[in-house]
Subunit: 420 residues, 2 copies
């Protein structure tokens, strides 16, 4: 390392020691990590668990190819949404019967938010965050339109006041625990308690929480939650989302996409809808089996893991990155846009820079894969199951090199791609 002089309290040797002492170090062997890549985008698409290819070969060639329609029974396809939901329940503080895997996060936000409106028919205000992931804003606004409610979008610092202002007119609060840009984390327990004190419901989005933070839905008395499975849960591109509905609500949940798989007796093909008594009432159409089965195999890496240990490594990785950015990249104009307090930070770190897009592309070309978030953020995710402290060290060294040589200032890095 030629940049050792820039580092105050961290040395390459100390980093090596952190990796040696890492209780999760062995997990990296369960993933495919391509050579020459430092993958800092597990918060967007998790790496491929090694268990997945063989499972998918079996699912496609044996279960589909040979079993054909029989596999809905013989290979237990039919109960996959519940079965995979139960695996995720264990990671988010829910009962196995409270979580189901289906559809996309957007569709699931729609289901639970309409259901929440129907539980509070005489109230009119939904509170959400202006900087929430856009799909939450779009779906929440649409739910309000359909149900005749009003959405108040506020800054994170104004959420408490907005809840108090809504008072006994509060229907629900829809927030994402960890912000997709800043990684700032809400206090789920405190906000949920405040909302309940006013008689409202909470709908928590766990997209950037599940699989990397110890979430305790029932401990926080949460009403509804949703989340995607292709980030820290490593389910693969576009893997189906999950949905949590608290047991105490299930018997009365009245969701707006009552497809046949949510029926109490779907294979009787009756004319009138009667919801399943349990979590299956949140289903709509036929489950995406290939996505479900890949996700189920991927979740095997979480067996027996203590999420507090995962969290501790996550905080250490992001903290190390911020320290190295401070010491190694001080002169290049980056601003840390994520909380410096690890307790309120998720597992990614965003840096603002006027040339964020081109720098991101230049880093990707050098094997340091993060992503760009408009208008000016470089976003780096730190997945504790397969990242090493040494990866963080090396990533910053490459960033320093890219900035020192202005390697990002080339036409190929300035031209925008469809997905950034």
């Amino acid at each position: 390392m030629t940049h050792a002089a820039h580092i105050a309290h961290l040395t390459h040797a100390s980093i090596e020691l952190m990796d040696e002492r890492d209780p999760l170090a062995d997990l990296r062997e369960q993933f495919i990590i391509p050579g020459g890549v430092i993958y800092l985008d597990g918060n967007s698409l998790g790496a491929l668990p090694k268990s997945v290819p063989a499972r998918m070969k079996q699912a496609i060639e044996q279960e589909w190819g040979i079993g054909l329609i029989r596999s809905w029974n013989d290979a237990d396809w039919y109960l996959a949404p519940q079965r995979v939901g139960a695996l995720i329940a264990g990671l988010i503080g829910a009962q196995p019967t409270e979580v189901i895997v289906c559809d996309s996060t957007s569709v699931n936000v729609f289901k639970v938010l309409v259901a929440a409106c129907r539980m509070r028919p005489d109230r009119s205000v939904i509170v959400s965050e202006r900087g929430n992931f856009p799909t939450n804003a779009y779906i929440t606004a649409e739910v309000a339109r359909l149900m005749g409610k009003t959405v108040v979008f506020v800054e994170p610092s104004e959420v408490d006041d907005a809840i108090e202002s809504a008072g006994d007119d509060l229907v629900a609060v829809q927030l994402t625990e960890v912000n997709f840009k800043t990684a700032s984390r809400y206090d789920m327990a405190a906000i949920t308690e405040r909302v309940h004190a006013l008689g409202g419901c909470v709908v928590w989005d766990l997209c950037h929480s599940a699989g990397v933070l110890p979430v305790d839905l029932n401990g926080c008395d949460v009403d509804f939650a949703v989340g995607c499975t292709y980030k820290y849960l490593n389910g693969g591109p576009g893997s189906p989302a999950f949905l949590f509905a608290a047991e105490r609500h299930l018997h009365q949940v009245d969701q707006p996409l009552p497809g046949w798989h949510g029926h109490a007796r779907p294979f009787e093909f009756v004319q009138d809808y009667e919801p399943d008594p349990g979590i299956a009432r949140m289903l709509t159409g036929t489950a995406s089996q290939l996505g479900l089965l890949a996700l189920e195999a991927a979740l095997g890496v979480f067996a027996g893991l203590d999420m507090h240990v995962v969290r501790a490594k996550s905080v250490a990785l992001t903290g190390l990155f911020i320290s190295l950015v401070d010491t190694e990249l001080a002169e290049f104009g980056f601003t840390v846009e994520s909380p410096r307090d690890g307790t309120v930070r998720g597992s990614h770190v965003s840096l603002a820079h006027e040339h964020a897009y081109a720098i991101t592309q230049a880093l990707i070309a050098r094997g340091v894969i993060g992503d760009f978030r408009a208008p000016n953020l470089l976003r780096f995710g730190f997945a504790p199951l397969y990242l090493r402290y040494g990866d963080v060290w090396n990533a910053v060294a490459i960033m320093r090199n890219v900035m020192t040589t202005a390697a990002w200032d080339a036409p190929e890095f300035l031209a925008k791609k469809a997905v950034t």
Copy 2:
């Protein structure tokens, strides 16, 4: 064949000749068909095209495993919903820019039916069929509830009258072209014309049409259509559904699940929703990539196919089956519940029988795979791309044997399975 004496005008030799002269005979080689199986359930889950396993291995191991997040650009994941939609468009008489692949059929019915309601805000009646596939009934009733409309569910023979009765209060007609039980086929052109004459919209469900009938959406001036891809399109278990919206409507389609992938500029992450100008506005959340890529590979078998040739074989296969049921199984109490007129029959045939469930199970145990539809139907699908006339002959021979020996009257065939 020991039952030759029962056959009047059909002989084994004539069946062999039909297979020899079949212009689609070579297509069977493009599918995995397990030994010992006569697969008469391609109307529920299509057989596995041989192209799929290798494509999925590449998608999982290379695109996900090595490409990681880069594959959204580099492997063109991002445009898969449009790209696969364009392939399906060619099979249903649509422009490539009018079809997109996403979500489930149920979710897509919801999207287009709400959109139709918003196009006819001052009207109040939706017409649908009482015997429609249940998910259509459930979703249609829910749309009516959310949008303040009334649904009139009628028998197929009453559809025309119900449309006339609704008159200038008609919002939309939601029908499935080919009934999932009887295989009875509506006259799409005539009904659509009648609905348009009254100023209403049509929402056609093509689940039992796409890939087996020559559908002509634009020739019929259809407004909206949806359908699944795991039946005759062979996309695999739970593969994503398709959605058609006529070009003339697209600029004004206002759908109720406006997720980020439907936004005009999703990667700018702006707070306010602005729909994509084209068919992508029908998208909601992140696409199910594994399902999309399997489907894309599966659709390769349709390249260059003339759907009228496929239809001719479909009519011949179902007609042969009905003839053989008439001659071979006359004494066993089956009633043909599908139209005998091939022009108004889809590609499956349903037989009523008081022991339908047990007989279906006994046939499956003998390798003749059909399915049971409550309360008393045996349903047999005839996929022209991989079924031979000889398969139909052999299936009926096995049915005769099962009935003659009463092999179905055993405990293992009487016990119900979860999915039937």
